[in-house]
């Protein structure tokens, strides 16, 4: 209980089903990291990365072990843990501003205060001029920016992102990476980020957690410098640097190795 860590996974196991047909989606995952970290989880399909995120979001109860945030065990979804899915999952009948203000409204927060924060995050994500539009009037990238802004309007302690840029085209994706990066640097927010893209993980993460499948478990943790170094640098420049490429290849070879073992 006294071990350090803002976000902690202690021997977390998740088993789906019963008896012979049971699947061990996650086996004794142990992970702890500090406030302000940007943790990227990568690994092939079935490695349990989404399962892990869902236990932290509170959507899924682990069958063994505990997940905790800031010293308190996770017992269900809560606004202190903001979530962004691959699909923007916006409320289509609400305007952009109403979507962003949904969390504060539900929590009965002071209106003026909430409005101020909605404005701040919509301006930050470049959506302020679209505040009276509806989600269907936005492009895919704008919709995902709104999903992020909506999560941030709740001032979460941690932002959980499950392949948030997976459905975007390559160019939009890089822009979004840059913007998210900028937001993270500005706020010092703790982020847990799941992706299929090793390059994305290496660029954004202060740490990359590599997982392996059947059963899902943590294979290796790799601390990375690029997220903190990249401050004012152009994204292409960072990604084409020799150190970046070496780190990317190392993670890739880990994942490749798994697939050759299999």
């Amino acid at each position: 209980m006294t071990r350090p860590g803002f976000v902690r996974f202690d021997e977390v196991s998740v088993r789906y089903g019963e008896g012979a047909g049971a699947v061990l989606a996650l086996e004794r995952a142990d992970l702890a990291f500090a406030q302000g970290d940007f943790v990227c989880i990568v690994g092939p399909s079935g490695c349990g990365k989404t399962t892990m995120l869902q236990t932290l979001a509170g959507f899924l109860r682990p069958t063994g072990g505990t997940v905790s945030l800031d010293g308190r065990p996770v017992e269900g979804p809560a606004p202190e843990r903001g979530v962004v899915f691959q699909q923007p999952t916006l409320f289509p009948w609400m305007t952009v501003a109403a979507n962003a203000g949904f969390g504060p409204r539900m929590r009965g927060e002071n209106r003026a205060q909430a409005r101020e924060r909605v404005e701040y995050w919509l301006r930050t994500t470049g959506l302020w001029e679209f505040r009276d539009r509806y989600p269907y009037e936005l492009s895919g990238g704008m919709q995902q920016r709104l999903a992020i802004a909506r999560a941030l309007c709740n001032e979460p302690k941690v932002l959980l992102m499950d392949e948030p840029f997976g459905a975007l085209d390559a160019l939009t994706r890089e822009h979004m990476q840059e913007e998210l990066h900028a937001v993270w640097r500005r706020t010092g927010m703790t982020v847990v980020f799941i992706t299929h893209s090793v390059e994305e993980a290496v660029y954004l993460g202060t740490e990359v957690v590599v997982m392996s499948p059947r059963p899902g478990r943590i294979l290796e943790r790799i601390p990375l410098p690029f997220a903190r170094e990249a401050a004012d640098q152009d994204i292409r420049r960072v990604k084409s640097g020799a150190g970046f490429i070496a780190a990317r290849e190392r993670v890739l070879s880990l994942i490749w190795g798994m697939q050759h073992d299999a």
């Binding site: 979001a57 606004p79 979530v83 999952t89 009948w93 509806y134």
Partner: protein
Amino acid sequence: MRSLPNWAVTGLSILLVLSAWVAVTRLGLVRDLFLPGPRDLWLGLQELLDEGYKGRTLPEHLGMSLLRVGTGFLTGALAGTALGLAMGVSRKLDAMAAPFIEFLRPLPQLAYLVLLIVWLGIGEGSKISMLFLAALPVAAVAARDGVRNIPPERLRMAAALGASPRQVFWHVVAPSALPEILTGARLALGIVYATLIAAEIIAGSSGIGWMILDAGRFLRSDYAFVGILVIGLTGIAIDRLLLWLERRIVHWAGR
């Protein structure tokens, strides 16, 4: 060659049917008993407007029918929607109510005509109840399916943003199901309209449905046709109104 716009095709098709009607009746190919001509129809309409039909004027008959349709539809659709939402949220309640809803839905209303009279009498109560019972299962199924078809991620998202279960229901579940609820409402209105004649058989002496039925008895087809036109046109008008409302309210649906 440029193709015609759709509204022109619609107009032409109506024009074609109308001229076929005029031609067939003018040439005396069909007896006026089976298909009254435009003149018969016009005279019939005049008579109905001036003298009414069996004690009531045409607008009175129409008014009574619309009042019944309106009351039966609104109460049936509201109750059905409430029930359907509850069924969509609670599997237990669904398991309890579904057999009755599924039994009621395809049941021809005439089947329980006598029962309604025994239970509720011959007044407006039994007529409106029949329309209510016609609208309710359709609205309930639409609302239930509307709830079931909500992407589960949307509900998780709402909970993660801090909405309580009650808030999730009112702020996310209900509006998410709204497009299907409104589509169900239009469907229910159609069925209520179709049930009108069956409802007005109950101790009739008023209403457009009864008028059509009564006039048809001795092939008073001019009155019957006027009644059919009135009921058809008001039906289209109400459906258009609902469609317009639907497009305004759930402009976001399906996009």
